[in-house]
Each structure stands twice: as structure tokens, then as C-alpha cells.
Amino acid sequence: MRAYIALFRMRLMLEMQYRAAALAGVMTQFFWGMINIMIFEAFYRSSVFRPAMTMAELTTYIWLQQAFLVLIMLWIRDNTLFEMIRSGNVAYELLRPVETYYFWYFKLLAHRMSGALMRCLPILLVALLLPKPYRFVIPSDMLTFALFVVTLTLGVAITVAISMFIYISVFVTLSPRGSVLIFAVIGEFFAGLVIPIPLMPEWLRNFVYLLPFRYTGDLPFRIFTGNIGHAEAFQGLLMQCFWMISLIAVGRFLMNRVLNQLVVQGG
């Protein structure tokens, strides 16, 4: 375990170096958030139809999505891992005295956490100061906030577990572009990143609730906005644990299988 924690810290410090890239990311996400809020606001303005989420909740939900984008987007990837698989250098990874699955898992986790740490605060701080329809609202009670932090942490753990399947698939296909694209499109739609899940029609929502993707970002964000009550939040938390454990178990099983069958040509 200590080896993983050390790795995690090293990675975190490395990522903190790229501040200029983070600033550009912040501006882009800020613009994106504004556009999205304006679009949904226009829809709310034009119709008497009201989905199971108020505009104020939706605004906060969108800002959270933008602020914690790095934690939930599946297209965020570590190209060095792909390169390792393609070139055969992955053989060196297997020599390490730690299990490759967990080694990569914590590397990716650290990558996402450090990215989010740098980006979330500036976005949320500015969003707090915006005028009314665009303002980000903080929950009033501590329990909501605590639940948010716990579910978001479990959410990242699930995102990384899902993203591990992309790396595993590259052992078979050897080309990451296709895998990343397909995982990203499907995963992001069902995680509520194209339209928030409460805005989906009922039949689609029921389907989405059966999949793991909404437990990455949708659940913590809706807890934060107050759209999901405490009782339901605890239920969701249990589901998150279930998904995290099973996704990691399946991922480890598949990873060990591809690694056993792996043939690295010399040279």
C-alpha cells in the first residue's frame, strides 16, 4: 500500500507543474458552462414543462460538472500507457514488485485528482460571484457536503475503474483511438454529461440507473444541489461501493488474462 501512496504523491507533484495548461482548461470550461446554462435556461423559459430539477439546481449541477470535469470524463487518458502497450515496453512494468492493475489504477487516479484540484477552485469561485441565473449555490448543511465529498471520491474510483477497461482493450486492438472514442461517447452520454439525467425522459432514466456511469458524477452532483435527499444518497453510496468493487474485480481478472497471453517481441 505504501508504494501506491508514494506513487500517488509523486504523480500529484508532477502534474502541479502544468499550471498554464490548467488555466487554459479553466477558461474553456467556464465558457462551456456558461453556454450550457444559457441553453437550458432558454428551454426552461420557453415551456411550462418542468423536469425533476429546478433551474437553480441545474445551474449548480453544470458548474460542478465543469469544475470536476477531469474526474469524470472518459476521454482523459494517459498516452504513455498506450505507448507502453504498443511498443512492448509494458514488459518492464510486469517486472515491478507491485500488481500492474493497481499500479496503473493509482497512477490514473493521481492524474485525475491533481488535474481536478487545480481546476475546480477557480471555476467554482468565479461561479459563486456570478449574477442570479448563473450563480453557483453552496448547500447549507454539513451532512450534504460530507455526503458529496464521499460520493465524489467513490465516483472517481469508479471512473478510473471504467477507464481501465480502455487500457485493457488496447492490449487486444493495439490502437487506442477507437476504444477511447467509443468508451467516451457511450460513457459520457449515460453519465449525464450531454444532458443532465433528470432532464432525460423517464424510459431513458430508468435504463441509465441500471448502469454504472451515473455513479461517477451525477450522483454526487445531485446530492450537492439538494436534488437527491439524504436517504436516497445513502442508497446511492451503497450502489457506488457495489460498482467500484465489481468493476475492479472484473478489470483485474481481464487484465491478468491479457497479461498472461501477452507476447512481447524482442528487439
Binding site: T28, F31, M38, A42, S46, F49, G178, I182, L199, P201
Partner: protein, 260 residues
């Protein structure tokens, strides 16, 4: 022009070496905008309208901008990844050849997988055109065509401007995404729904509005005064290429090699 076709041929052949990967990528590329379009459909399905705009009217805007974006992304990919040409010194070699720099950068890369996105754009556009309630005239048909051309010009202009920035910064600017990807994201809805400042900036400075709500008013017979201006408004997008190319020229003139 002959040289450009030669470039296309060569690049296409090199792409075809990895046929399976190419086809898979195309399928993926098709579904990226498709999921966004599907989301738009779901929203209209529930809310009914968007400030008086119905689904097919907005789908027309969506089709136009996605088609324009896909076409310029396919052919102007060389500008999109221009920073690599500057960083590795490849651009020095371009400068010593007796052909225009624009042509050579264009020919340095063409992303053929974008064909899938072009198809997706065409699919949405034709869906919109067959269902939309419009009294068609010849001029209105031309206006739709102008909208696509104008859209391509604006997007390409943006790619050129941000490529030119590399002459100063060497590294590519991530901020560029706000205007290219962000512009596309924004323009798939009528710009009238956004805050006033946004709308004015994206109509007069970066003229997305000229291929968006302005000509739509003509198509839907909602213009009050001289409607012909609205019909030809998309061509204003072509003018955007002029400052873009001027910035490029200026950048090329003061280019200092990175020495690598």
C-alpha cells in the same frame, strides 16, 4: 490546385494502410455528434420548443454548423496541428519550397475520418430540410448553401488565426477550443437564446450569427425590411478569411525558426 489534389491522393493512400482502424474510427466519429443531436431531440421532445423555435428549425442550424465544421476540420487539420510543424522545424522546409505556405500546410495533413462527421451533418441537414415548414424558393435554397460555405470560411479562418499564433507562442493555444469547438457547440442552437453580449460578439466580430439566426429569419420569412440582405448575410463569413490570412502573412514574415 493540381498539387493539392496530389497531396490528397498521397495522404489518402497512407490512411488506407490501416483500413480496419480507419473504419472503426469513422464509426466512432459518426456517433460523437450523433449523441449530441439525440440529446437535442430529447430536450425538444420534452420542452416542445425553444423560444418559439421548433425542433427541425434548430436541426437545420445544427446540420449546417456541423457540416461546415467537419469539412473545415478535415481539410484544415494541418493548421489545427500547426504547432508541431513549428516545434520540430518542419516549417523551415516548407518555407524554402517555391509554393505558397498556405497550400503546403493544407497539404500536410488531411483527416479522412471526418468523412463520418460530414455524413452525420448531411444526415441531420436533410432530415431538417425535408421536415421544416418553409415556402421554398430558389433564393432560399441558395441561402442554405451560402450558410454552409460561410460556416466553412469562419471555421477555417479560426483555424488559420490560431495557427498563426504559433509564430509567437510556438506552443498551440488550448484557448482556441473556445472559439472552434465552443463556437460549434454554441451555434448548433440559434444565437438569439444567449445573452446579448455573447450574441453581438459572435455575430459581428466572429460572425457565427451570419450563418445562424440571421439567414434563418429570411428562410422563415420573418424579415421586416430588405430581406435580400438576410439572404446573402452568410457570405459575410467569407470576409472573415481576409483578416485571418492577413494575420497568417504577417506571422510568416516575422517567423524565426526554433532551430530544431
Amino acid at each position: 490546385m493540381r498539387i493539392y489534389f496530389k497531396y490528397i491522393q498521397v495522404l489518402f493512400r497512407s490512411e488506407m494502410v490501416y483500413k480496419k482502424s480507419f473504419i472503426l474510427l469513422c464509426i466512432g466519429q459518426f456517433f460523437v455528434p450523433f449523441s449530441i443531436f439525440f440529446a437535442m431531440f430529447l430536450l425538444f421532445d420534452q420542452f416542445g420548443n425553444l423560444e418559439g423555435w421548433d425542433f427541425y428549425e434548430v436541426a437545420l442550424l445544427f446540420g449546417v454548423i456541423h457540416l461546415s465544421f467537419a469539412i473545415s476540420e478535415m481539410f484544415f487539420r494541418g493548421f489545427d496541428g500547426f504547432s508541431t510543424l513549428v516545434v520540430n522545424g518542419e516549417f523551415d522546409r516548407i518555407l524554402v519550397r517555391p509554393r505558397s505556405t498556405v497550400l503546403q500546410v493544407l497539404g500536410s495533413k488531411i483527416d479522412f475520418t471526418r468523412i463520418a462527421r460530414i455524413l452525420q451533418g448531411l444526415f441531420v441537414l436533410s432530415l431538417a430540410l425535408t421536415h421544416i415548414e418553409i415556402q421554398w424558393t430558389f433564393l432560399k435554397g441558395m441561402t442554405v448553401f451560402f450558410m454552409i460555405i460561410g460556416g466553412i470560411a469562419i471555421m477555417s479562418g479560426l483555424f488559420i488565426i490560431f495557427a498563426s499564433m504559433c509564430f509567437w507562442t510556438v506552443q498551440g493555444l488550448e484557448i482556441a477550443n473556445i472559439f472552434t469547438d465552443g463556437g460549434r457547440e454554441m451555434t448548433q442552437y440559434p444565437l438569439t437564446i444567449y445573452a446579448k453580449g455573447f450574441r453581438i460578439f459572435f455575430t459581428l466580430i466572429i460572425p457565427f450569427g451570419m450563418v445562424n439566426y440571421v439567414p434563418m429569419q429570411f428562410l422563415m420569412d420573418q424579415t421586416h425590411q430588405v430581406s435580400i440582405i438576410y439572404a446573402f448575410a452568410p457570405l459575410y463569413g467569407l470576409l472573415f478569411l481576409i483578416p485571418s490570412l492577413m494575420i497568417w502573412r504577417f506571422g510568416v514574415l516575422r517567423y524565426k525558426s526554433t532551430g530544431s
